[in-house]
């Protein structure tokens, strides 16, 4: 004990996107994420060591320190602008943070559930569609379109995160799009998976969800980043009230990787207000309805309406490029919502 720094608990205030705010004490040595959980506020988080970026928040006031020995995925420029990863943030005094999602997503602890495999189907050269049915009772809090679950790879202690590709109306069924990674634990399991297998699911998680608004909804998805986008598009279609215009820009690396095109075209059939652009980044497009392009280039040159909302999901590089492009097309940065998919199945 050196005596340096203030003693005793500090108070942290979190403000959610819906302006709802919570306050809780943070003990010395506790991260903001741990303190929130101790106060039964369950924030979006995943890796808990500063890598994945899920627990991102903006510091509005106060002074913070990074837990020693961590390598954060935040860029220095982001940190300078106030970005913090709450799993790796300690506070020196009272502090206030802002979170980019609604409080409703943070009020309930995710449930640990048993699920049974009902379908395993390879839908492209590199993607498997995994269907599960919850064996336990459906939990009181179900997923918002865009959220994810953690699946325990059967026979291991390894957990993998995948976004649900459908809305909660399909419960007890959960559908995931799994990118096959050579040597990956989940990928190896899927080679031998059969309907009837049981696995554990932590559900629901994450802060990626529709934010409302009646303006155009722009979705930019790369690879298996399509899964939460499918769920969000279905939510827009199935929910009450008028449907906003929708633009979906989706690309996979190659024709061999491309999946989900038929599912997307079915959505376009059901929603006359949905404009669909499907592309492959490399090689020849597999059919006439697919073009050569990236999810970002498919956005085109047309300026976007100021009241548009954008949802971006894919690898980090694509997410960053999409955010740049969307703001260049006239969108306010706070209307661009993103979920980064990092390949973790190693």
């Amino acid at each position: 004990m050196t005596g340096a720094g203030p003693e005793g608990a500090r108070t942290v205030k979190l403000r959610f996107e819906d302006d709802h705010a919570v306050e809780f004490p943070v003990e010395p040595g506790q991260t903001v994420l741990e303190a929130a959980e101790a106060a039964e506020v369950f924030l979006a988080s995943q890796c808990r060591v500063g890598s994945c970026g899920t627990c991102l928040a903006s510091l509005l006031s106060g002074s913070t320190r990074t837990v020693a020995g961590r390598t954060l995925s935040l860029l220095p420029s982001e940190q300078e602008a106030g970005a913090r990863l709450l799993c790796s943030t300690e506070v020196d005094g009272d502090a206030t943070f802002e979170l980019g999602y609604d409080s409703g997503l943070a009020s309930q602890r995710p449930a640990l559930l048993r699920a049974v495999v009902t379908g395993v189907q390879q839908v492209s050269g590199t993607v498997v569609e995994l269907r599960l049915e919850l064996a336990d009772e459906i939990p009181p809090v179900v997923h918002a379109a865009g959220q994810y679950a953690r699946l325990r790879v059967p026979g291991t202690d390894q957990w993998r995160s995948y976004s649900m590709a459908g809305t909660a109306r399909a419960l007890p069924e959960l559908v995931f799009c799994v990118k096959l990674i050579p040597g990956g634990a989940m990928s190896a399991y899927l080679e031998r998976a059969v309907p009837g297998d049981e696995l554990e699911v932590e559900y629901p998680l994450g802060g990626f969800s529709l934010r409302g608004g009646t303006g155009q909804h722009v979705f930019v998805a790369g690879g298996t980043g399509l899964a939460p986008v499918l769920a969000m598009v279905d939510e827009l279609r199935e929910r009450r009230g008028p449907k906003p215009p929708v633009l979906v820009c989706f690309a996979c690396q190659s024709g061999e990787d491309l999946f989900g095109a038929a599912e997307l075209r079915m959505r376009a059939f059901w929603m006359p207000g949905l404009t669909l652009r499907i592309g492959v980044t490399e090689g020849d497009p597999p059919d006439e309805e697919t073009t050569r392009g990236t999810p970002v280039s498919l956005l085109g040159e047309e300026p976007l309406a100021p009241d548009a909302e954008a949802y971006v999901c894919g690898p980090p590089g694509m997410v960053a490029a999409a955010a740049d492009r969307l703001t260049a097309l006239g969108m306010a940065a706070h209307r661009v919502h993103a979920e980064k998919f990092v390949p973790t199945d190693t």
């Binding site: 379908g119 395993v120 189907q121």
Partner: protein, 401 residues
């Protein structure tokens, strides 16, 4: 890696997948116009309740104008229409504790038993847009706050082009006289809708008194054989699909050699066509006789009942023509056409209900065939253009109040 046994996205069931939203529309289509009452059923100061898509709605006429509110008092949820209480022209009062609502805005304006309660002015009942034309009161059954409310004409069969030779009246024509009946049928609304324009069900009506009496030429069936058999309406205006019986692309089946059946009737009706438009409005041109049009609705009440509306319309520019039509309706069309003839259809709809009802397997197991192209077309048009689907509602009460 194994494949699952059944997947709806397999090519063989592509059409089935395209109309998947329709198969789930058990409780009806939201944000559409439906008929609520005949004008004659709602006199000045009367208030009556119906259920549409499981939603209780109370309609009240004051100073001639009809207003519609959610028929569920905000206080304890009773249906106000079961004991209507109205004390002023601009309000509706709940018979239980006296919650009193403004007819136009739905706002709580006073509580008889507690006039100074602070919730007065804050609480509001959902209101529904109403239109009344040619003897029918229509209500727009919408999600609270749905905007903009489309014109009623968007949810009715469209007016025939002026240069079309076989004219029949549009439901909103100023000189149209519209007369009809309504009754509750114990089947899901979709089974009602799919009955009226079904090309294969004609022979069901072959022994109907009106067909025999008028010696109407009624084929045993009609089989689509080419692209001109169907016209779809997907542009601006009402969305629907029409059978073009006289296009040359419908094969007319006049006999069944195997069963020794022969179509009867010498009197062909020119211009006879059937069409169906969202949210489920049938138009039969030149039925039950040339110059008339029969229109039908199958208004969802709950998941297993629909209110079956059948009306006959005729253009009557003069009072004498109106009197003649009213006489013919009263003495002939009501009982022989809307009654006996359509009773055959009711029988069929209720007979289908078990197969398609909750717990039934009809939507997955039905074996459609060539004659059903128009039915698949209708289902796809609903799946694409419905303005919304009702979610399951609690505690269905089977009948209109």
């Amino acid at each position: 890696m194994s494949e699952t046994a059944t997947r709806r996205s397999e090519p063989v069931s592509a059409a089935r997948r395209q109309f998947d939203p329709y198969t789930k529309a058990v409780w009806g289509l939201m944000n559409h116009w439906y008929p609520a009452f005949f004008s004659s059923e709602l006199g000045e100061d009367e208030a009556k309740g119906i259920k549409v898509c499981g939603i209780p709605v109370i309609l009240r006429r004051a100073n001639g104008e009809v207003f519609a509110l959610r028929d569920q008092c905000a206080h304890r949820g009773v249906r106000m229409s079961i004991r209507p209480a109205c004390f002023t022209k601009d309000t509706l009062t709940c018979w239980y504790h006296g919650f009193t609502y403004d007819l136009e805005t739905g706002k709580l304006v006073t509580i008889v038993a507690a006039p100074d309660d602070p919730i007065v002015g804050d609480v509001k009942l959902q209101t529904f847009p109403v239109r009344e034309k040619n003897g029918i009161i229509y209500v727009f059954v919408g999600d609270d706050g749905y905007e903009p409310v489309p014109d009623l004409a968007e949810d009715l069969p469209p007016k025939l082009p002026a240069d079309y030779p076989h004219q029949v009246p549009h439901l909103l024509d100023d000189d149209a006289v519209v007369l009809g009946i309504r009754r509750t049928v114990a089947s899901n609304w979709r089974l009602g809708v799919e009955n009226g324009f079904d090309p294969g069900h004609n022979w069901l009506h072959r022994d109907s008194p009106i067909v025999v009496a008028l010696d109407t030429a009624l084929p045993l069936g009609l089989v689509p054989r080419g692209p001109n058999a169907l016209t779809t309406f997907e542009g601006d205006g009402p969305k629907g699909i029409r059978n073009e019986w006289d296009s040359g692309d419908y094969d007319v089946v006049m006999s069944s050699e195997k069963l020794g059946l022969q179509a009867r009737g010498a009197n062909k009706i020119p211009g006879l066509r059937t069409s169906i438009f969202l949210p489920g409005v049938l138009m039969v041109e030149h039925w039950p006789a040339y110059g008339l049009a029969q229109y039908e609705w199958y208004v969802p009440i709950d998941d297993e009942h629909h209110e079956y509306w059948a009306v006959v319309a005729k253009s009557c520019p003069t009072p004498a023509e109106r009197t003649d039509f009213e006489y013919a309706y009263d003495k002939l069309w009501r009982d022989a056409a809307l009654g006996a003839f359509n009773d055959d259809d009711l029988f069929a709809r209720e007979a289908m209900e078990n197969f398609y009802a909750e717990g039934g397997t009809g939507w997955d197991d039905e074996q459609l065939c060539g004659m059903d192209a128009v039915i698949v077309g209708w289902r796809k048009i609903v799946s694409r253009y419905a303005r919304g689907y009702q979610t399951p509602q609690a505690h269905p009460t089977p009948k209109n109040a």
